[in-house]
Point group: C2
Chain length 257, copies 2
C-alpha cells in the first residue's frame, strides 16, 4: 500500500498577509501525514509591479510576463512569499523547504509558443523531478513550491500555480496515494455563485459539460476543474476544491471521473 500525500494549492491574499497566512499554516499543520504546498502570490506581484511603475497585464486570468515582470514574480514568488511561508512552517514544527522549478530541476518547462497572444516568459511544464520530491517527502520534509519553472537553458519562466500543483500531483501519483486540494476564495464549486451554502459536494466528469453549458461553472473555475480531471486520469486518487479556511475539515467539492 502506498503512503498518502496531500498536495495543497493556495493562492490569493491568504498567503500574502501575515494574519491569514498564520491561520492557513495552522490548518495545513492539522492535515496528517505527508504534505506538499504550492502557493501563488499574484496580488503581491501586482502591488510590487505597480510600485515599480511596471504595468500588470492579464489575459484570461494569466499574467503577461515580460522581462521586468519576470524579475518581479521571481522576487515575490521565489523570495518574499515562499520564504515567509517556509519560515512560518518551521515555526510550527513543519520541516519545510522552499523550491522553485529550477532547484534540482524540480520543474522543467517550455516557453509558451506565441499564437494569438504572446504571454512572454511563461512556461508550460515539460517534466517534474518526482524522484527528488519523493525523496524529500520520505524524509519528512514538506516541499513548498513557488510557481516558477525554468527551461533548462538558464531561463526562468512564470507558471500558473494551479498547473504546478496538478503536474506535481500527477508526477507523484506513482509513488504516493495523492489527494490534490485546490483552495480558492469559495468553499467549493457552487450551484449559485452568490450562495456559499450551495456547494456541489460531488462533481463528476459526466456532470461537467452540462454545468458549463448552463453557466453554473464559468471563468477560472473551468481550467481548474479540467486540471482536476487530468490529474485523476493520471492516477491522482482524489481532488478536492475548497477554501483555505476549510483545510482543517476537508469539506468542499470532490471531483471524480
Amino acid at each position: 500500500m502506498k503512503q498518502s500525500l496531500v498536495i495543497v494549492k493556495v493562492g490569493g491574499k491568504i498567503v500574502e498577509e501575515p494574519e491569514t497566512l498564520g491561520k492557513l499554516l495552522d490548518d495545513f499543520n492539522s492535515i496528517p501525514g505527508n504534505k506538499l504546498l504550492v502557493h501563488g502570490g499574484g496580488r503581491s506581484a501586482t502591488a510590487l509591479a505597480e510600485k515599480l511603475g511596471i504595468e500588470s497585464r492579464m489575459v484570461n486570468g494569466r499574467r503577461i510576463t515580460d522581462s521586468a515582470m519576470l524579475d518581479v514574480v521571481t522576487m515575490v514568488y521565489g523570495g518574499l512569499v515562499n520564504k515567509n511561508i517556509v519560515a512560518g512552517m518551521q515555526a510550527r514544527g513543519m520541516n519545510a523547504i522552499g523550491l522553485s522549478g529550477t532547484d534540482c530541476n524540480v520543474m522543467l518547462s517550455d516557453k509558451r509558443p506565441v499564437k494569438d497572444i504572446d504571454y512572454g516568459f511563461v512556461g508550460d511544464v515539460r517534466s517534474v523531478n518526482a524522484g527528488f520530491l519523493a525523496s524529500l517527502i520520505e524524509q519528512g520534509i514538506i516541499p513548498v513550491l513557488a510557481p516558477l519553472t525554468h527551461d533548462g537553458r538558464g531561463q526562468l519562466l512564470n507558471t500558473n500555480a494551479d498547473t504546478i500543483a496538478g503536474e506535481a500531483a500527477k508526477a507523484l501519483a506513482s509513488a504516493f496515494r495523492v489527494t490534490l486540494i485546490y483552495c480558492f476564495e469559495k468553499p467549493g464549486v457552487l450551484m449559485d455563485e452568490n450562495d456559499d451554502n450551495s456547494v456541489i459536494p460531488y462533481l463528476s466528469y459526466y456532470d461537467f459539460p452540462r454545468l458549463v453549458q448552463d453557466g453554473t461553472i464559468s471563468g477560472g473555475m473551468i481550467p481548474k476543474i479540467q486540471n482536476a480531471f487530468e490529474a485523476l486520469q493520471a492516477g491522482v486518487s482524489s481532488v478536492l476544491i475548497t477554501k483555505a479556511g476549510n483545510l482543517d475539515r476537508l469539506t468542499g467539492t470532490t471531483i471524480a471521473l
Copy 2:
C-alpha cells in the same frame, strides 16, 4: 579519507549582471568535486530599495534592516539572485538547489541584540543543519545559499554572506575536507592596495596583527580574515581570498594559522 568540498562566497555585481554571472558560473563549473556557493546581492537590494523609496543605511559595511528592507533582501537574495544563479548552473549541467537559512532549517540565527546600533532584522548564526547540506552534497547536488537566516519562530533575518560561508564551512568540516574561498574585487590581500600585482600569497595568524597595525590590512578585509582564522581553527582545511575571475586557477592569498 574525507571527500573534498569547495565552498565559494561571491558577492558584488558579478552575481547580479547576466554577463559577469555567466563567466563566474563557467569558472565555478571548472572546479572539480563537491561544491557549495554562497552569494550576496547587496547592489541589487540597494537598487530595488531606491526604486521603492526605501533608504539604504549601512553601518561598518552592514545593512540596517528594518521591516521594509527585510522584504527587499528576501526578494532580491532569496528570489532574484538565488534563482537566476541556480538556473544558470542547471544550464551548465550543475544540479544546484537554492536555499535560504529557513529551508530545512539550514541556518538558524538569533536577532542581533541592540547595543550601540540597532541593526534591525539581522541574524547572528546559531546553528547549521550540516546533516542536510551534507546529504545533498553526497547526492551530487550543489547548494546555493542566499544570505538569509531565520530565528525558528517565523522571523526571517538578514545575515552577512561572508558569515554564512564561514559558518557553512565550519559546520561541514567534520564531514568534508573543506576549502573556503572568499571572492572579492581584488586578486587577494594586497601589500599595496593600488597594485594588483602585490598579492600576499600566504598570510598567517602571526603576520596578521602587524599587517593590521601598519595599515596594510584595513576596513572590510579585517572581519573577512578574522572569519578565515575562525574557520581554520574550527577544522576547515584551507581558506583562500581571491577574486572571482581567478576561480579557474585558484590563485590568491592563502590564509593559514
